[in-house]
Amino acid sequence: MPITINHGLAAASNGFLLSTVVLYALGMLAYACDFAFRKERLVAPESAQVSELVSVGPAAAAAGSAAAGPGDPGQSDRSSAAGASAGAGLWPTGFWMRTAFGLTCAGLAAHLVAIVTRGLAEHRVPWGNMYEFIAAISCMAVLVLVAVSIRLGAYYIGLFVLIPVVFGLALDVTVVYTPAGSLVPALNSYWIAIHVTAMIVAGGLYIVGAVVTVIYLIADRNERRALAGLSSRTEGLMMHLPGTTVLDRLSYRTILFAFPVWTFGIMAGAIWADHAWGRYWGWDPKETWSFITWVVYAGFLHARATAGWRGRRAAYIQLAGFSCLMFNLIGINLWVTGLHSYAGLSG
């Protein structure tokens, strides 16, 4: 039975996605302004480290703020820690940061509407080709950004997450754009909702993890140069960023979430492949690269638990894993033909 595409809704979806890009771009600028104009440090690196070691629930946050008596330096240091990066429901401070976060949330809302309307227009899960996949994975990345900001107070990563998101989405709506359409029979299965959704969720988390790792590497270089008595050009930026321990921990936590989801996604893909193609694993290029990505991230997790490999080395391994992910998303779609050639670009 042929499926009728609702072209009105599809056009609305395109409009919403375009507004999303604009809102994110403005949000990105506002985050940059916050870095430029903020007078006080955004986070106190030392105290933030203490509390960022673990996520602190409401009780601790309440306890911390209750104890924040004036003239009690030891306690106030602790409370600032709790206030800076712990506790559920931490709101941004400062005009530019509030503006940036507001724009990000508005963009996210438009983004979600764009995805939902696209799905309604096509009467299916809207991740059947590369255009839709990029839109969804960047939405997930921003979702993670907002969640991490509110839960952990990690507003400082906003700029760094939005930069790749804005560029990715801009390319998505221009170069990669594919009009709304129906699915090829191979994709027409409820497994698409399970397998691809898991890949999108893991992908969004991996993006944020990689972004934080890049900041970590910059911060680490800074710290080492500072220890050696050298100055570096990124010092001004680092003023507003927490120490390496916090960054390292944050990126690790995103991977801790992403990795099981990715594992699940591969398994769901295997079950689907078994339904559709008659084998659960066939070393199709896409499968191979998702396996490589899995192996490298597994290596990252192990490296992080191994003396001598943690820190920078583990960070580089994580970035290598992320490169594999990106190659799988972009390279394999564009240059290699396989059973997963659904990008919608070749036709």
Partner: protein, 600 residues
């Protein structure tokens, strides 16, 4: 078990097959810890031992032990892991026999000098290559060598009591203290009840209670790795006891699941071909729909094959709608719809006037957007000489700049165009022939220009060689038939691996200590300390704060939640120092088992 290292007696194995923990850094002895000078959670500084040190004293057993220890070290496992990733890359870049044999042939044609070299290196079948197997077998051996001893240790640890409480709880990463009117022993027993009620494992001593929880983390970690081993075994079993086959089936035909009836049959090593599941399948009808307009035009929308099948020769036949993503499963074997095409029907009358051929010939699609298909018709019974035809089938023929092409995959204007040959088909030469190719060495081309035939049209061959009529066409489907007894075990292993992974990421192993001492004024000073061995996912601070609050409330009678626990400083003053230093400071002033360790 990992033996005592020959280079110098000490403890420790790879602390984690992977630890996946980070607070307890495994004392990975194989790695001289040069970069980050970290003191390990168990207090062991890895002073040990460049692998070769002292090897002059090694006998063969010593060498074996040394090799085994190297193999099961985390560094080796990491290196093997990355080797595995790198080794997979050529499998996705170069065409693979197992995935796309035609692409391999094309590669041979395009790179005649390079291809044989690559073939010698098994680069066209990377995932079946001996060197690839060597990597993953070594990796899994390394894994087994680490997982098994750890499992024994976990069983041992499960029977052990928590360690004694350290003397100064304020020095722990998490600490709180409060004053209660209860006498010390009552305060302690109430703390014990509360912690025991939260399923902490308890140990009490003179003036202290020690509690531990979170063994499931290690259980999950081991489960994950053991499940991976099981997954590999399942895949291997499936390859040995299973088989894969392909069969092209024209509408109206049927076949039985025997090796001779299958076009391609790839049995596992221990499959006996005479004992396949005896089902049969007949194709009654096949329909496909395509997008007729818009940017996705020509793309397929639905494939639907109506088949009848029976599980055994004398079993009743049943109907089944075979579709993509909707395979037929019969007797444990799965039958998948993986392709389709057209089989034009021809009637050939030879020079003597006899009908020497009348049937459908499957043509193979050479492109997908219009399903232009090619095939050959072989007529060995024709007289005076054998006839052969090489043809092109166009489902929707349109004239494009004087050339006939197919514009749409559905048969809206079907045409077939044939080049005719006569001579010797070479079928008796003893060499096997593809049914989709003509051996032209004994044939000569007949001097008749090919012209597109519509259904019902004929072409009379010159020199009284005969006549061929295009009588119609039928769709065919190609089926993949797989039997994989390793499938279910593989699925279960995968689920267990995932469960273990989540468990090891979610659960943290932590200890809580309570000390109560009589203070001035008849009050009791209660100190609470907490230590999480691995809290990567966070949350222990909150849990500890809540625990301390509950303890206080329970012993106070009054819910004074606002009073914060005076958390001790982290102990790591300088920026960037890992928090593990803090646990070390504890272990140094307590008995050896305080900080949680993997081993011993």
């Amino acid at each position: 078990m990992t033996g005592t290292p020959p280079g110098g007696g000490s403890r420790g194995t790879r602390g984690g097959v992977a630890g996946l923990d980070d607070a307890a850094i495994p004392a990975d002895r194989a790695i001289p810890d040069d970069a980050a000078v970290t003191v390990f959670a168990d207090g062991a500084v890895p002073a040990e031992t460049a692998p070769g040190r002292g090897t002059s004293r090694l006998g063969p057993v010593g060498w074996l032990r040394w090799g085994w220890r190297q193999l099961t070290s985390m560094r080796t496992a990491l290196v093997l892991l990355f080797l595995l990733a790198i080794a997979s890359v050529p499998g996705s870049v170069l065409p693979q026999e197992g995935v796309d044999p035609a692409a391999v042939s094309q590669y041979y044609a395009a790179h005649p000098a390079l291809a044989p070299i690559l073939n010698r290196l098994s680069l066209f079948s990377v995932f079946a290559a001996p060197w690839f197997a060597a990597i993953y077998l070594l990796l899994f051996l390394s894994l087994a060598g680490c997982v098994l001893p750890r499992t024994f240790r976990l069983v041992g640890a499960a029977r052990q009591q928590p360690p004694r409480a350290p003397r100064r709880l304020a020095r722990l990463p998490m600490a709180a203290s409060y004053v209660t009117p209860l006498p010390p022993d009552e305060a302690l027993s109430s703390a014990g009840r509360l912690l025991g009620g939260k399923r902490f494992r308890l140990r009490t001593g003179d003036g202290w209670v020690s509690a531990e929880k979170g063994y499931l983390r290690e259980v999950g970690n081991l489960l994950f790795h053991i499940a991976l081993l099981a997954l590999l075994v399942s895949v291997g079993l499936g390859g040995i006891y299973g088989y894969k086959a392909n069969r092209l089936l024209v509408t109206g035909q049927s076949f039985a699941n025997t090796p001779t009836a299958l076009d391609v049959f790839r049995p596992g090593r221990l499959v006996s071909p005479s004992n396949l599941q005896p089902f049969s399948v007949a194709l009654q009808r096949f329909s496909a729909t395509y997008v007729s307009s818009g940017p996705q035009a020509d793309e397929p929308e639905t494939f639907d094959a109506a088949v009848r099948y029976s599980a055994a020769p004398n079993s009743p036949t049943r109907s089944f709608e075979l579709r993509v993503n909707h395979p037929l499963t019969v007797d444990g074997v799965s039958v998948y719809l993986i392709g389709h095409g057209y089989a034009p029907e021809f009637k050939v009358t030879d020079g003597a006037g006899n009908v020497v051929f009348n049937g459908a010939v499957p043509f193979i699609p050479v492109e997908q957007s219009g399903l232009t298909s090619e095939g050959v018709v072989k007529v060995p019974d024709a007289a005076p000489s054998q006839l052969g035809f090489a043809g092109v089938f166009l489902p929707t023929a349109v004239d494009e700049n004087g050339q006939l092409v197919s514009d749409f995959p559905a048969p809206q204007n079907p045409r077939v165009s044939l080049v005719s040959y006569a001579g010797n088909l070479g079928l008796n030469s003893g060499q096997s022939q593809s049914v989709y190719q003509l051996d032209l060495s004994g044939m000569h081309r007949l001097s008749i220009a090919p012209r597109p035939l519509a259904v019902g049209q004929s072409m009379t061959l010159p020199n009284g060689a005969g006549k061929i009529t295009f009588t119609g066409y039928r769709p065919w489907i190609s089926l993949a038939i797989t039997y994989d007894p390793g499938q279910l075990p593989a699925l279960l292993s995968g689920i267990l691996a995932l469960a273990g992974l989540i468990l090891s990421f979610m659960v943290r192993r932590r200890r809580v200590f309570v000390r109560a001492t009589a203070g001035p004024g008849g009050h009791t000073v209660v100190a609470v300390g907490g230590l999480a061995r691995s809290d990567a996912a966070g949350g222990f601070e909150a849990e500890f704060t809540e625990l301390a609050r509950e303890l206080r409330t329970a012993q106070d009678g009054s819910p004074s939640a606002a009073s914060p626990p005076a958390a001790a400083g982290s102990g790591s003053g300088e920026a960037g120092q890992p928090e593990h230093g803090t646990t070390e400071s504890v272990s140094s002033d307590n008995d050896q088992s305080l900080s949680i360790r993997e081993g011993e």
